[in-house]
Subunit: 137 residues, 2 copies
DNA sequence: TATCAACCTACTAAACAAGTAGGAATAGTG
DNA sequence: CACTATTCCTACTTGTTTAGTAGGTTGATA
């Protein structure tokens, strides 16, 4: 019942990119230094955000990353689903998992389903812009 | 971001005890057979429920377990907190964890705190009685 | 051509999950 | 008393996941 460092670091990177937004690209080396996270580890986390169009990476000197959209349009839910795989509390709700054979008689399934819905709704309702601005919830 | 088998099995045991309630004690062997869960594994999960007064265990022939309270007074939240340790989404919110040194400037802490509150509120609002009766949520 | 950056793959150490194994303590029953 | 059925307790095991590290390749700019 935990969000791993992958998801938490991805979030911190996105917030950092929003806060230090310029017209150019920001090298991950700078973000890693500011956030005190291993650069090498961040390099392993970012590709999924690039592939799914949340950030753009440019190689070479003067390169780096920048947000693909304005921070107001980046939701926490989207970032966590990409980096954590899924926000489902039980495997039965994971779309990629095999179907549970007890699902028709399971007394707890609807509870998990509703919690899953609630979780997505909560995190989809928060944007990177709000976090960067320190909006209190 | 998952509830482990410990929590899920504990819940199924509690529901089973509620459904097969008698004036005596129910051997875990029966519950394990009905729920198709390893008896040995359940024996490892139950002590925490006993210690915290959710169920009573009686050893020896004719012994077994029974709920300490009526199912209407057993909440899912209570059971999950005992078996999963804590429902906190990040370590910073775990009371037993060391205090995070970034907590004063952390842009995400309030988001996690609110989610934690929401999670507890959701699961505290569901009782074993409701699950046993198949109340749809 | 040198430098700085993203990108890629393989490896590793530690922790955790999900159980198994083997018995000790306890309480009724013939 | 011996037998049986049950909880209770500790240690072990096996596989997976987490949180990285190592060592490079590719690509852009100056």
């Amino acid at each position: 019942m935990m969000i791993s460092t992958r998801g938490r670091y991805a979030l911190r990177v996105m917030i950092d990119l929003a806060e230090h937004k310029t017209d150019g690209y920001i090298p991950m080396k700078e973000v890693a230094a500011r956030q005190e996270i291993s650069l090498k580890y961040l390099e392993r986390i970012l590709p999924v955000l690039v592939k799914n169009g949340l950030v753009e990476g440019v190689q070479g000197k003067g390169g780096g990353y920048r947000l693909s959209r304005v921070p107001e349009e980046c939701t926490v839910g989207e970032i966590l689903r990409l980096t954590e795989g899924n926000l489902a509390p039980v495997a039965c709700l994971d779309c990629n998992a095999e179907v549970c054979e007890k699902k028709d008689t399971c007394k707890t399934l609807s509870m998990w389903t509703e919690f899953h819905r609630l979780t997505n709704q909560y995190f989809d309702g928060i944007t990177i812009a709000e976090l960067a601005n320190g909006k209190s919830l």
